[in-house]
């Protein structure tokens, strides 16, 4: 009951139905496990899937009721354990049921020579106690069957005896055959083997009671399969090694060739460059020409030096002159000549929250068109108007980690324009003109002597 309860709970959890015979449950409202089911009338309706659990040891529903193998097996498993010791020696008949036994019984004992003629070569190991083992095996099998059929059939003891006799006969025949076969084989072999054989025989004789074993037949060393295999392996290994050596040699030769080629190339290059070197002639003996050429060069150098010097002096003079002018004259100068700025770029207007790109401070000495472009043109996100955005989004780098609310300096100004000193009153202007610092053109140092007492 508990188990069924657990099952019921599990079923409820998994939404499966449980055979209602076990437990009454309220119907689960769900169409999850619905399958189409045909009822008696032939109509198809969707019903819940009825899942039956598999329990090991119990026959599942889908398994057929009657299966002879299964039952026998089961039975045998149980029965053999009980009756194994009870009836070991029971040799039962009913050989007809076993085709192997039938075959054996029906076998005609034939001539050895005929048999030999049939087979090309008989080099397989012969079973010693073949008949015995077979008999025992049969007995085993028979015993099992009989144990199963014990209840069904009555077995005659006479039958048993008869069968036993036949078995023994057959065993004898087979032994004779073997002996003959062995003799035949011996003819082709040396004497040593017979010795070993005899030894083997003795060995086997002493251990006859054990399980049937194959009689070892001596095979010449050159015929032995295992030895052959090993030798083949060894050969293969040697071949592989040779191959490897050959490959290594080839590779070595190849690399040597490459090295040769490379050295040749290098030599060629060296030769070429030396030839080029020699082609140039520095032994021009024409002194006149050389002197003239040198003269020209020297003159150029002198000129250059002189010009440099002059330029320097001019600059110094210029600086001196500027220093000697008074302030007004300087201003007049500047207005007249003006400062020459190379690569003067147009200063454009920046939109709201536009990103500032610096032009770069280096390489501004050379005049170039590229430097004179307008660097304040809007790019990427600057194209569209950010003033219509909500205040939250009016930041630079919106959404990214490095966002800033800072817009421009004036925005950061916290001056209160309502303060008393900021108003335009007579008192304020008077103060500004007379006493305020840094407003007038005063250039004397404040001296310690004059101490105004205000």
């Amino acid at each position: 009951f508990e188990i069924s309860q657990v099952l019921g709970v599990a079923a409820a959890a998994v939404n499966m139905s449980v055979p209602s015979s076990l437990m009454k449950q309220p119907p689960i409202q769900s169409t999850a496990g619905a399958v189409p089911v045909r009822n008696e009338k032939g109509e198809i309706s969707m019903e819940k899937v009825k899942v039956k659990r598999y329990v090991s040891g119990k026959r599942p529903d889908y398994a057929p009721m009657e299966s002879s193998d299964e039952e026998d097996e089961e039975f045998q498993f149980i029965k053999k354990a009980k009756e194994q010791e009870a009836e070991p020696e029971e040799q039962e008949e009913d050989s007809s049921s076993d085709p192997r036994l039938r075959r054996l019984q029906n076998r005609i004992s034939e001539d050895v020579e005929e048999r030999l003629a049939r087979h090309r070569k008989i080099v397989e190991p012969e079973v010693v106690g073949e008949s015995d083992s077979e008999v025992e095996g049969d007995a085993w099998r028979m015993e099992r069957e009989d144990s199963s059929e014990e209840e069904e059939e009555e077995i005659d003891d006479e039958e048993i005896e008869r069968r036993r006799g036949m078995m023994r006969q057959r065993a004898q025949e087979r032994k004779n055959e073997e002996l003959e076969v062995m003799e035949v084989e011996d003819e082709g072999r040396s004497g040593e083997e017979s010795e070993s054989e005899s030894e083997y025989e003795e060995y086997t004789d002493s251990e006859d009671e054990m399980e049937p074993r194959l009689k070892p037949v001596f095979i010449r060393k050159k015929d032995r399969v295992t030895v052959q295999e090993r030798e083949a392996e060894a050969l293969k290994q040697k071949e592989l090694e040779q191959e490897a050596k050959r490959m290594a040699e080839e590779r070595r030769k190849y690399t040597l060739k490459i090295v040769e080629e490379e050295t040749k190339k290098e030599l060629e290059e060296n030769k070429r460059s030396l030839a080029a070197l020699d082609a140039l002639n520095t032994d021009d003996e024409n002194d006149e020409e050389e002197y003239e050429a040198w003269k020209v060069r020297e003159l150029k150098r002198i000129k250059r030096d002189r010009e440099d010097r002059e330029a320097l002096e001019k600059e110094k003079a210029e600086i001196e002159r500027m220093r000697n002018l008074t302030e007004e004259e300087r201003r007049a100068e500047l207005r007249a000549n003006g400062k020459v700025i190379t690569n003067k770029a147009v200063k454009g207007k920046y939109k709201f929250l536009q990103k500032y790109y610096h032009r770069g401070a280096f390489f501004m000495d050379e005049d170039e068109e590229v430097y004179k472009r307008d660097f304040s043109a809007p790019t990427l996100e600057d194209h569209f108007n950010k003033t219509i955005l909500p205040k939250v989004m009016q930041v630079k780098n919106f959404g990214r980690s490095g966002r800033t609310k800072y817009t421009h300096l004036v925005d950061q100004d916290t001056t209160s324009f309502d303060s008393a000193w900021g108003q335009e009153s007579a008192q304020n202007t008077k103060f500004f003109k007379q006493k305020a610092a840094g407003v007038r053109d005063v250039f004397e140092r404040p001296s310690a002597k004059k101490r105004k007492t205000t």
């Binding site: 460059s273 520095t282 032994d283 002194d287 060069r297 020297e298 002198i302």
Partner: protein
């Protein structure tokens, strides 16, 4: 061990003298065949012998930055740091122009500004032709005085960054140097003075005589005397020059 600077070397411009050559080029020199074969265990004397065998100047060339023997020997000299006298001898010798240029380069790298001007400016008068190898491995013709000019005015010679050299006028103002008087100027002066004095006779006399003197010197590739220098020596008026 083979690539370390000699133990008791002075530091040049504040660093190990070998570091005057850039790291990459230095490594390439260490790995080059010439360095490994020829420059192993050289002393000052042996460097002279190797320098006499030079056939061209150059820095590095080729796609894989191969150094020239000239550059290798320069690095070797930086490594062994020979005495100043030896370098001055290198510069003063007239027979081997590549030895001269090697000495000049070394002087420019290691010497003070005054030394540089003092020893290199006389070489302005050497107008012999030299072969130089450019970056592509091709050879070009050049002159010794052009090479000296490069040494004194440009920033990079033979793929070595030259240390900073004070401007000449700075030294002149500090009165450590005299303003430069070129040989040509003297020539011109002489020519002019001669004109003033003796019209054309002397001029005719003067003009061929320098040529005549120069012609007597032959330029074989190895032992070649610099004629102008000789000439210069004989004509120099300043007591201070060339009488160190």
């Amino acid at each position: 061990m083979a690539n370390r600077t000699v133990k008791d070397a002075h530091s040049i411009h504040g660093t190990n003298p070998q570091y005057l050559v850039e790291k990459i080029i230095r490594t390439r020199i260490y790995e080059s065949k010439y360095w490994k074969e020829e420059c192993f265990g050289l002393t000052a004397e042996l460097v002279v012998d190797k320098a006499m065998e030079l056939r061209f100047v150059g820095g590095v060339y080729g796609g894989n930055i191969k150094p020239t023997p000239f550059l290798c020997l320069t690095l070797k000299m930086l490594q062994i740091q020979p005495e100043k006298d030896i370098i001055v001898e290198f510069i003063k010798n007239e027979d081997f122009k590549y030895v001269r240029m090697l000495g000049a380069l070394y002087m420019r790298l290691t010497g003070t500004a005054i030394d540089c001007y003092k020893y290199l400016e006389p070489l302005y008068n050497d107008y012999r032709k030299i072969k130089s190898q450019n970056r592509n491995g091709e050879f070009e013709l050049m002159h010794v005085d052009e090479f000296i000019d490069e040494l004194l005015h440009s920033e990079r010679v033979c793929d070595i960054i030259l240390p900073r050299l004070q401007k000449r006028y700075v030294l002149e103002e500090a009165e450590q140097l005299e303003p430069r008087v070129s040989a040509l100027e003297e020539d011109m002066d002489d020519v002019e003075s001669s004109e003033e004095e003796e019209e054309e006779d002397e001029k005719l006399e003067r003009v061929p005589s320098p040529d005549h003197r120069r012609r007597s010197y032959r330029d074989l590739d190895k032992p070649r005397r610099s004629p102008t220098l000789r000439y210069r020596r004989s004509r120099s008026r300043s007591p201070r020059r060339l009488r160190p």
